[in-house]
Amino acid sequence: MNSPIEPPGNVKRRILAFGAASLALHLCILAWPREAPPLQATAGRPLALTLRPVRPAEEGQTVERDTSRSTLNTTTGRATAAPTERASAHESTPSSFGEPHPTSHLDQPHSPETPTTPAEDIASQRATSIPVSITPGEVVREIQSVFSARFTYPLLARRRGWQGRARFGMQIESDGRLTRIRLLQGSGYGLLDRAALDTLQNVRLPAGGYLPRSDFDIDLVVEYRLTEGT
């Protein structure tokens, strides 16, 4: 069955060949260069961590902005950052964690072992709870590393297509436990809220001095989102 209007075969074939070649070329040009930079693995919405002391700065301390390095660009990251990085911590001052922090959080270790030996094995620092140069960014990284393996999408919610955002408030104890977890705003689905809550209750950040002497309060939004499969 042929289409009613039909140009002579040869011309048609040539036009087609030319069109196809042109199209292929355009596609190559369009597709090629932009393919190079891979997408950021963290496709989620940008996040910032709200850190604030559980007790407002005592003794009327002056609060200063967190001068930690950006955690976005460091690949070494985590609390195992090399001492040299610490030394240059003041160079880059992102406003990402612009919440006020008592200086004591950053500067005053509460362990007898002090960070005066930067070359010391990081593992031993962890083990001995030295809050050396802990930064909110590092806390985020810890949360990232810990949480990324812990949340699951409830089966029923996947089956029924349930999605939503739940907001929690919680406190990070200096030993890494999350306490006083409370649901601030539900997702509309009890199952999702409960799954997130259960996960948070069982999550524990690695203990050992990641956090400054005092405890952190954080607000955490857990968003359950379904994506189209391929």
């Binding site: 069955m1 289409s3 932009r34 919440e99 857990v222 391929t230």
Partner: protein
């Protein structure tokens, strides 16, 4: 330091958790837990599932659902001409009435002869199509021997969007449609409509009069409620006229109507328990205009589904399905008007334990004409690694005799259901960098097939079929393009005669390349399919063919889109049913405007 919980690996694999940090001051920390949307009708981790999403539908420029399905391996299409003409779907080598088609979860297979009228379903009203291959009777009842297709219509979840589109193309095809979709926290309203008219081409090779088709489709939906507690009222309707040639090559035409009206009530009485009640009426009507022949099905159904999540690793589903079909037909002087009642109950347990995933299900169906029949399903999956899993499944399925079998020409009220037992083994591998591969081997024994017996001049449960096959899919997803290759090798055999079953190719390959750089899109679909027999009653063979369809879209100012589709680019002369024409190289140009945002 971090003790890994005994969470299911299946669960872990399915989700991606991302936490990111950025310079946004007081914004709270955010964890985004994502998982792939599961098909509504099956769990991809155990079954062979194909999802045709909105992008693919929009790019394809397909005129009906048959056009969308044909480029996937294992979905053979038989068609008596062009747009609107009777279209048969043979899934994985099974018969054309062995695929259950659901429209938003409501069965639309007619109670009379043949399969669902997929030729009348307009792609522009469809959000996505889920195709599950393999027996699904345990959850969905009769007809799901080859598989199930769930067609999900378009709807909005948040905000408001509008769209108007018009199209014109070869064979005097013109189309116009529009939609207004609205969604807010508590209320959603969607209205989608399209009208299509085509002058067509001669459906028969032996004739030279074009046979046209027109179809006006409307989908409307109102929903209120939030979270899991919702009430929705919806109506889908496709109606129009199909011109064709009768057996004696006289030009004739018929009016058709396909509709689904449903009330959905869903709720979550407890966090872990979700319940949904759907009360629906489906109509499938054909009225011949040159005679008094007709075929009407009106089916009322009550479908009550319950899902309970027990612990994190177990999902139990239970449900009851009741239906009453009022089926009447008059064909070549044989007529009937009957009521067919069906009652069914099912129970399914889906358990994940570490790397193991097990699904057990059973259903009992009771129909007056043949009594009770029980189907069951056992599926198992094992994660061999983060990326790979193997699956094995054994399941049964059935097709209840339709009213034409029971009461039509040569009808036999004592028919039993056609029954099938399918065994399947699959391997699925998905690489983090957008590559995925899956293959499955299946072996499907179907017995008690209802066939016309010349000796007794009536239909009896005489046929047997044995279908073996292997299919494979490889896909590669990149940021700007996507490629997919599918292939099937199958042997759909009539066990009594040893011959191959008609209109099902033993070999089919398909490929899709989609490029989406942004301001324009391009897609090419290639289908290469082998030769097939035309019917059980003749030795006529339909030749193999290669079909190439390309389509492209250019977006202008983000709200205008120009879409061009060239079907059968190579202008192949092929047949999907002996003596019936198919479209030659044809073009369709569509202009659409979508409200920004």
């Amino acid at each position: 330091m971090i003790d890994v919980p005994p969470y299911s690996r299946a669960g872990l694999l399915a989700l991606v958790v991302s936490v990111s940090a950025a310079a946004e001051g007081a914004e709270p920390a955010e964890v985004v837990v994502t998982a792939t949307r599961t098909a509504q009708i099956a769990d991809e981790s155990l079954a062979s599932v194909i999802v045709i999403d909105q992008d693919e539908i929009a790019r394809s420029g397909a005129q009906d659902v048959g056009d969308l399905l044909r480029f996937h391996a294992g979905l053979d299409i038989g068609r008596n001409g062009g747009a609107g003409q009777t279209t048969s779907l043979f899934m994985r080598g099974t018969d054309s009435n062995h695929t259950l088609v659901l429209l938003d979860g409501v069965r639309i297979n007619p109670g009379t002869l043949g399969g669902a009228a997929i030729q009348n379903l307009a792609p522009n009203l469809i959000e996505r199509i889920e195709i599950v291959k393999g027996p699904r009777s345990t959850l969905y009842g009769s007809d799901a021997i080859g598989g199930v297709i769930n067609i999900i219509t378009r709807r909005e979840t948040t905000g408001i969007s509008g769209r108007v589109a018009t199209a014109a193309g070869t064979y005097g095809t013109r189309k116009a449609g529009g939609s207004v979709l609205f969604g807010s926290d508590l209320f959603r309203a969607d209205l989608d409509a399209e009208t299509l008219r085509t002058d067509g081409f001669p459906t028969l090779a032996a004739a030279d009069l074009a046979r046209g088709y027109d179809n006006t489709s409307v989908n409307a939906r109102l929903e209120t409620g939030a979270g899991p507690d919702r009430i929705a009222l919806r109506h889908f309707q496709a109606s129009g006229n199909t011109e064709y040639f009768d057996f004696f090559v006289n030009p004739v035409d018929q009016d058709f109507l396909n509709s689904v009206t449903a009330l959905d009530l869903s709720s979550s009485p407890m966090d872990i328990w979700s319940t949904r009640l759907t009360i629906a009426r489906m109509r499938d009507e054909i009225d011949q205009n040159q005679s008094i022949d007709f075929a009407h099905t009106t089916r009322d159904t009550v479908d009550w589904q319950n899902d309970v999540q027990i612990d994190t690793d177990q999902l139990v589903s239970a449900g009851v399905w009741l239906s009453r079909g009022d089926i009447s037909s008059l064909s070549f002087g044989t007529g009937f008007d009957e009521i067919v009642d069906v009652r069914a109950a099912y129970l399914q347990d889906d358990v994940t334990h570490g790397a193991h995933h097990l699904l057990v299900a059973a259903r009992h169906t009771d129909q007056d004409s043949f009594g009770g029949y029980t189907t069951w399903d056992l599926e198992y999956g094992y994660h061999i690694s983060e990326q790979g899993r193997v699956t094995a499944a054994i399941g049964t399925a059935f097709r209840a005799p339709d009213a034409t079998d029971l009461f039509g020409f040569g009808g036999n009220p004592y028919l039993l259901p056609e029954t099938a037992r399918n065994i399947e083994i699959g391997l699925h591998y998905s690489h983090a960098r957008g590559q995925s591969f899956e293959t499955s081997v299946f072996d499907n024994h179907i017995k008690d097939l209802i066939e016309y017996d010349l000796n007794t001049s009536r239909v009896i449960n005489i046929g047997r079929a044995h279908i073996r096959g292997v299919e494979a899919t490889y896909s590669l997803t990149r940021r700007l393009w996507y490629a997919r290759f599918e292939g099937i090798l199958q042997r759909p055999e009539n066990e009594l005669t040893g011959e191959l079953l008609p209109r099902r190719a033993a070999r089919t390959l398909s490929a899709n390349l989609s490029v989406t750089p942004g301001f324009y899109e391009f897609a090419a679909d290639l289908l290469a399919t082998g030769r097939r027999r035309d019917s059980d009653f003749s030795s006529t063979e339909l030749g193999g063919y290669v079909l190439l369809t390309i389509s492209g879209a250019v977006h202008w100012r983000r709200d205008w889109t120009v879409n061009v589709k060239v079907e059968n680019v190579l202008d192949k002369d092929y047949q999907l049913a002996s003596g019936f024409n198919t479209a030659g190289r044809s073009y369709l140009l569509e202009l659409s405007y979508r409200t920004p945002g």
